[in-house]
């Protein structure tokens, strides 16, 4: 609609709705519904004497229940456009903000998130996630990387080598993500590249989520003997990081080609240039 905010380039365009959330992504002229939001799980407070009833902590992710908390229903956004990059600055609440940007000629979008300090004045530990939701019919299948190398196929509520009864639907479907998580159907593919190792999952068809920050108030009794409640300067830690969104839509998606593009982007984002700064009093000519 005319009230939407758009940023992008010739490869990828992002549309934001009137509430400031990502609403749709256009790639090569085709548009699909893709939303993004920050949410959090409340950490379980268990009885550490019972092996299967421990608190959420440094070793294990165990949400209190399946109810996920939303952080806001309206995002304040500011848009900056220029010849090299277009950016949407989003403020979700006092402790979550994000910059979404698309550089000229690049075929992916960046989501640079800033999360923390996670408030604990309600004495509740929190585990914050970012979630991308699409209409891709992934039928429970998603892909996670193997330490940046091959992609491993995952099927929700399933293990390849034994019959599993998943009693913790979130934690039981979380997998380690080092650089990439992806899902697809026969017409579309969505991949999120990370800048660090994170936990991730696809808890619903078409949905991808990644855990970005955690602050917990109880030890999980697996050995460390401390709650995962990191502080600095008397406050909870603030984490800043980046996700890279790559999408491919077509009548019949050429998945290997899209994956090849993802591989190049992955190399460039995980192995960026090393930057060295030097003060100088020389003129340009002398320096040259």
């Amino acid at each position: 609609t005319s009230s939407m905010t758009r940023i992008g380039n010739e490869h990828i365009r992002l549309n934001f709705d009137t509430n400031g959330f990502l609403a749709a992504v256009t790639v090569e002229g085709m548009t699909r519904i893709i939303s993004q939001d920050f949410l959090y799980y409340e950490g379980a407070v268990g009885n550490n004497l019972e092996f299967q009833n421990r608190s959420s902590g440094a070793y294990i992710f165990r949400p209190l229940n399946s109810t996920i908390k939303i952080v806001t229903t309206k995002v304040d956004i500011t848009v900056y456009r220029g010849s090299l990059v277009e950016e949407v600055h989003q403020v979700f609440n006092d402790w979550i903000s994000q910059v979404v940007r698309v550089y000229r000629h690049k075929n992916y979008a960046e989501f640079e998130w800033l999360v923390g300090p996670i408030p604990i004045d309600d004495d509740v530990g929190k585990e914050v996630i970012t979630r991308f939701e699409t209409d891709i019919k992934s039928e429970g299948i998603f892909f996670t990387d193997s330490n940046g190398r091959e992609m491993i196929k995952r099927l929700r509520n399933h293990r390849d080598t034994w019959n599993v009864d998943i009693v913790e639907p979130e934690a039981g479907n979380y997998y380690p993500i080092t650089t990439k998580i992806a899902l697809e159907d026969n017409r579309a593919r969505l991949a999120i590249l990370t800048d660090r190792a994170q936990g991730g999952s696809s808890l619903k068809d078409g949905s991808l989520e990644l855990m970005v920050h955690r602050r917990l108030l109880h030890d999980d009794a697996f050995g460390v003997g401390e709650a995962l409640n990191e502080t600095a300067y008397g406050q909870g830690l603030i984490a800043r990081g980046t996700h890279y969104l790559m999408a491919g839509f077509s009548q019949k998606i050429d998945s290997p080609t899209q994956e090849a593009l993802e591989r190049f982007a992955q190399l460039e984002t995980t192995l960026p240039t090393w930057k060295f700064f030097s003060k100088t009093e020389y003129t340009f000519e002398d320096w040259m």
Binding site: S83, S97, T273, F276, F277
Partner: protein, 188 residues
């Protein structure tokens, strides 16, 4: 060698499963961070020496046509660039940015440099003035009381044709002509 040795020892310690997964005690985490910081600073001497050899050669004589001898630069890393903070770029009127491409193929990368003003000019090694854009650093980051920085903007430019396993340097200087300040789009 002692510098590299300290980094080797640190990387050895970092292979403990508690360091990999973050299940170490908090005070151990502080110690890991301190060791990494010391190791990075120590190896900074090695990278400086290597980059000075690469960029100026080992020739103590003046280069033909120039009266000055090749200069040795202090190639400083800015470990807080991840929070848009760098003392050299924030406080200097002119500085050199050297980019080393660790990939085995030529690449292009958009570079973001935190700066306190919006009147810088970037020249590449041929003297060509590069296109730049300034974007404001997000208010939530600027408002952090313990992030000691004068930077208000990030200066964005495209570093193109970075050679594989090689470097390019850019000369960045303040000018008297301010660029357009980044102005947000009107709402909706």
């Amino acid at each position: 060698l002692p510098h590299l040795g300290f980094m080797r020892e640190t990387m050895g310690i970092m292979q403990h499963h508690d360091a990999v997964t973050g299940t170490e005690k908090q005070k151990v985490a502080y110690d890991y961070a301190k060791r990494l910081e010391v190791a990075f600073r120590a190896c900074g001497a090695n990278t400086r020496a290597a980059l000075n050899l690469l960029t100026t050669g080992n020739n103590p004589e003046p280069v033909e046509g120039h009266t000055r001898r090749p200069v040795k630069f202090q190639f400083e890393s800015c470990p807080l660039l991840n929070i848009s903070l760098c003392d050299v770029s924030e406080e200097s009127d002119q500085f050199v940015l050297t980019l080393y491409n660790p990939l085995s193929y030529s690449t292009a990368e958009y570079i973001r440099v935190p700066v306190s003003d919006n009147n810088f000019q970037i020249l590449d090694h041929k003297g060509v003035i590069l296109e730049t854009q300034y974007v404001p650093i997000p208010a939530n980051l600027i408002d952090l009381s313990y992030r000691d920085s004068q930077a208000k903007y990030e200066m964005v430019f495209l570093a193109d044709e970075l050679p594989p396993l090689g470097y390019r340097s850019y000369y960045i200087k303040k000018t008297n002509e301010p660029s357009l300040k980044p102005i947000p789009d009107p709402a909706n």
